[in-house]
């Protein structure tokens, strides 16, 4: 069975600024990968490449064995890649219900829509109470819940979560990771970009450490802690 996501020697740049240099990574179907690294290492860029937001300058991106290099983000989404970007990942100017409708419409059709909405509100009752509130006025934790709800009701093949714990209170972070665990159990592969190393390592089987736009280390999650400590020291020197 082919891996759900495979990056082969991907280089990427923002205009003249190069961000990735020949990154190769694999996420097995149903597997999980924690992508770690210091600020500016290129983690977000990897996530963007994996969901089609950034087109690699060289190398290729395969989703479920199919070469999607150069395809548009919506084609990645239709191939089963869900990406919850860094920071705000919901539409601030749409209500909670509209945010959900936007993602369920394509997969559930007009008839299955209300059913899917109900399931989302069952999973996260506090969203149900705020269904006609603008998503931009939700708290950070509630916004995360909203983007988790989209994924939980409608499990994709791969979920890319970019710093899902950023800016949240510890207790909310626990909740977020519970949802992520539930998503894993539903059979979705996850690629988690994190600086909160502890949670990510608990959730994931494998780990990749990124530095200066290249993979510095890759291996099982339980061996990662020592490596991370080493990496902190090296980046501490030149940063």
């Amino acid at each position: 069975m082919s891996p759900v996501l495979e990056l082969r020697g991907v280089s990427a740049s923002y205009g003249p600024f190069r961000a990735l240099f020949g990154v190769s990574l694999t996420v097995e179907a149903g597997g999980s990968l924690a992508l770690l690294g210091s600020n500016g290492a290129g983690k977000t860029t990897v996530a963007r490449v994996a969901s089609g937001l950034v087109v690699p300058t060289s190398g290729s991106v395969l989703v479920d064995g199919e070469d999607l290099t150069g395809a548009r983000p919506h084609q990645y989404a239709r191939a089963g890649v869900a990406h919850a970007p860094e920071g705000r990942s919901v539409f601030a100017t749409l209500t909670v219900a509209e945010n959900l409708r936007l993602s369920f419409r394509r997969t559930h059709g007009a008839s299955g829509l209300s059913c899917a909405l109900d399931r989302a509100y069952d999973l996260f009752p506090q969203l149900g109470n705020r269904r006609s509130q603008m998503a931009g006025t939700l708290s950070g934790g509630e916004q995360r819940m909203l983007s988790m709800a989209r994924v939980l009701v409608n499990p994709p093949k791969l979920l890319i979560a970019d710093e899902p714990s950023l800016g949240l209170a510890p207790i909310i972070i626990d909740e977020v990771y519970q949802s992520l665990r539930a998503i894993r159990e539903a059979g979705t592969a996850v690629l988690i970009v994190e600086q909160q190393v502890g949670h990510a390592l608990q959730l994931c089987d494998r780990t990749a450490v990124l530095g200066h736009g290249a993979v510095e280390w890759e291996g099982p999650a339980d061996e990662a802690t020592d490596v991370m400590v080493g990496q902190m020291f090296t980046t501490g020197e030149d940063g």
Binding site: Y14, S89, L102, S103
Partner: protein, 688 residues
């Protein structure tokens, strides 16, 4: 009591009178906001699109004698969205990362190109006095008078009904349909919409089609108000729509709608009450006569300058805007000595060859055209200063040039002053006008600054020029605005060859001054400001002073050039030379060729003045092939406008300008070859 009642009646009448055009303004403002929000394009070309639909409808109804419904379907429901789709697909989709100003320049190019292209393709031409018909029979002859105050024609009722229906449909689309939901999502963040599995490009294309349909519908609806179908009237339409959209701060559809209606009513009120005040206060009369046609521009200018809110344009930030690379630095002048040297040698020798040829061989017509090119190049140096150095798009350089030209005319006519001295006075006056105008306008910045200067240009055109102490008033209609040629000592510049020499000298002097400005304190300040305003301010550079200086200097240069142009033609020829549309043309020409260099201005002058004769009429071929001219030549001057539109599209690809681009490419090639030869020689020397 009686007075109050009649005033109330007048108010109601004005409301009834203003509501129909107001609803058409609202319709087009909605379309305008829709495209601006979904694609960031400030689409001035909406006026042109409205014109095309109106003309298509006219053609189908009157020439082909179609029924209303098929004509309407063709003009509004097929052609209009099709144009929107083509523009989106071929042009604007590729510009999503370009600056707003680049998009504006292209929209200006399209404003000029679209009507000409349409007229070339369909053979449509406006015939004076052939009034367009509305969309219902008896539109302009059957009236209803529900309140006994103002009879509404069927056409007016149709305008309001269609506008209401359009707004209701748009509201329903946004609120209830999934396409509307996707549209709102795209407005916030096209990329996040894509992440939800929705093709955002297709949604934007739909938005373009829809808003173009609105523009087309507005065009067909408003057409019966004009006696003759002509593109400029439709440009006025889009100006009011922009004012309405500005009232809605470019973000809110309902407010744009109310803005449109409100402006329609405001204009009607104004037309009702101003004549009464002028009856009491005689001095207001010339204003009243001239203000009415230019109301859209006055309103737009007023809204922009007096409505501080629009400067703080409210936008929800796209959370995925971080995916875009930072905007490319402003087309930096990559200067190196070799490039400068090559440019200088090349330009000077080219100039010498052309100059000698023209002086010895040219006939009257060519002398005229070449002299005109040189003088236009002086005017274009004003764009080099304000756009090239200060980075501001000013669309009123024509008005500044006209100030210079009219000053020469007035001073020579009334006081018999020497025209060259008068030209300097004209330049000074233009500088004052430029400085005063720049104060309110500079705070706007960016696209709004361009729009405000455009509004000023049209205001100047419609109101100021009509005053006898500027444009000469009624007498100039018969005698023209005559300007004599100067004499200095033994030289009588009535001789065209001698005048060409004078023009070249003037161009050289102004170029020298412009270079001085660039190298001097102001130039350096402007350069620093283009890099980062905040950083520049923190080291004590005042953005206002440097920019006001740039504006004033630019206006002075334009005024001086305008004066020379009038002296050359021995007449101001305002309509031909300095109309606001001409100024639009100038700007797009200069920025697409190269706004930052002296040669850019020179090439632009040559292009404006000579292209027509050289290429479109095929003179070049006549010279090269000894009298033979390709069969397709001369081609219609309308192609000039179409080509011009295409040139403006190039601007987005080469923001440094085509001349600069070509020059850099040539230098790179030259450097590569040169370096290779050096390397070969070096390797030969090292090898034994």
């Amino acid at each position: 009591m009686l007075l109050a009642a009649s005033t109330g009646e007048d108010l109601l009448r004005a409301v009834l009178q203003g509501a129909p055009p107001g609803s058409v303004y609202a319709l087009i403002a909605l379309g305008f906001v829709l495209t601006y929000k979904t694609s960031g394009v400030f689409n001035l070309a909406f006026g042109a699109q409205a014109y095309v639909s109106a003309a298509m409808y006219f053609q189908a109804r009157n020439e082909w004698e179609w029924q209303v419904v098929p004509a309407l379907i063709l003009a509004v429901f097929i052609l209009a969205p099709l144009i929107g789709l083509v523009l989106e697909r071929l042009i604007f989709r590729h510009l999503s990362n370009s600056s707003a100003v680049a998009k504006l320049v292209i929209a200006i190019g399209l404003t000029v190109a679209l009507p000409s292209l349409f007229e070339l393709v369909t053979g449509f031409s406006a015939v004076a006095g052939r009034t367009p018909t509305g969309i219902i029979p008896g539109g302009s002859s059957v009236f209803y008078d529900p309140f006994g105050i103002y009879p509404l024609s069927r056409d007016e009722l149709a305008q309001m009904a269609v506008a209401l229906f359009g707004m209701a449909a748009l509201g329903a689309l946004f609120r209830f349909s999934s396409l509307g939901l996707a549209l709102r999502a795209v407005v916030e963040s096209p990329r996040m919409t894509e992440l939800s599995g929705i093709n955002a490009d297709r949604v934007s294309a739909f938005a373009w089609a829809l808003s173009s349909l609105f523009a087309g519908m507005a065009g067909v609806l408003i057409a019966p108000r004009f006696n003759t179908l002509m593109a400029p009237d439709f440009f006025h339409l889009v100006i009011v729509a922009i004012a309405a959209a500005a009232i809605g701060r470019l973000a809110s559809l309902p407010r744009a709608l109310l803005g449109g209606l409100g402006l329609g009513i405001f204009i009607a009120l104004f037309n009702t009450f101003l004549p009464r005040w002028t009856a009491d206060h005689g001095w207001l009369r010339p204003f009243q006569e001239n203000l009415t046609p230019s109301m859209p521009f006055v309103i737009l200018f007023g809204v922009l300058v007096c409505w501080p809110a629009i400067r703080r344009e409210h936008r929800v930030v796209d959370p995925l805007s971080g995916v875009d690379p930072p905007p490319p630095g402003l087309a930096a002048l990559t200067r190196n000595r070799r490039l400068t040297l090559i440019t200088r040698v090349f330009s000077v020798s080219l100039l010498c060859v052309i100059g000698v040829t023209v002086l010895l061989r040219a006939d009257v017509r060519w002398l005229f055209l070449v002299t005109q090119a040189v003088i236009l190049a002086i005017i274009y140096l004003s764009i080099t200063v304000v756009t090239g150095f200060a980075g501001q798009i000013s669309l009123c350089q024509g008005a500044f040039a006209a100030v210079g030209a009219f000053t020469v005319f007035q001073l020579a006519d009334r006081y018999d002053l020497s025209v060259l001295a008068a030209a300097l006075v004209g330049a000074a006056l233009a500088a004052v006008v430029g400085a005063v105008l720049s104060l309110p306008v500079l705070r706007l910045g960016g696209v709004w600054l361009a729009i405000a200067t455009l509004a000023f240009a049209f205001f100047f055109d419609a109101v100021m020029v009509k005053f006898s102490w500027i444009g000469g008033g009624g007498t100039s209609l018969f005698q023209g605005t005559r300007v004599p040629r100067p004499t200095i000592g033994p030289w009588d510049f009535a001789d065209d060859r001698l005048f060409l020499v004078l023009a070249v000298v003037a161009f050289t002097v102004v170029s020298f001054l412009v270079i001085q400005l660039r190298e001097g304190t102001t130039g350096r300040m402007l350069h620093a400001l283009r890099g980062s305003e905040m950083a520049a301010e923190s080291i004590g550079i005042s953005p206002v002073r440097a920019r006001v200086t740039a504006f004033a200097v630019s206006a002075a240069i334009a005024g001086f050039g305008g004066a020379l142009l009038a002296i050359h033609q021995e007449n101001v020829n305002y309509q031909n030379n300095f109309s606001p549309t001409a100024a639009l043309f100038w700007l797009v020409l200069v920025v697409s060729l190269s706004a930052r260099t002296i040669e850019g201005a020179a090439y632009s002058g040559a292009a404006f003045s000579l292209f027509d004769s050289l290429v479109l009429r095929g003179e070049v071929f006549r010279w090269i092939f000894r009298g033979w001219v390709p069969g397709i030549l001369p081609i219609s001057p309308k192609w000039r406008f179409v080509l011009f539109g295409l040139a403006s599209i190039q601007f987005s690809r080469h923001p440094e300008g085509l001349v600069e681009y070509g020059k850099r490419r040539a230098t790179r090639r030259f450097n590569e070859r040169f370096d290779r030869r050096e390397r070969d020689r070096a390797s030969q020397e090292t090898s034994p």
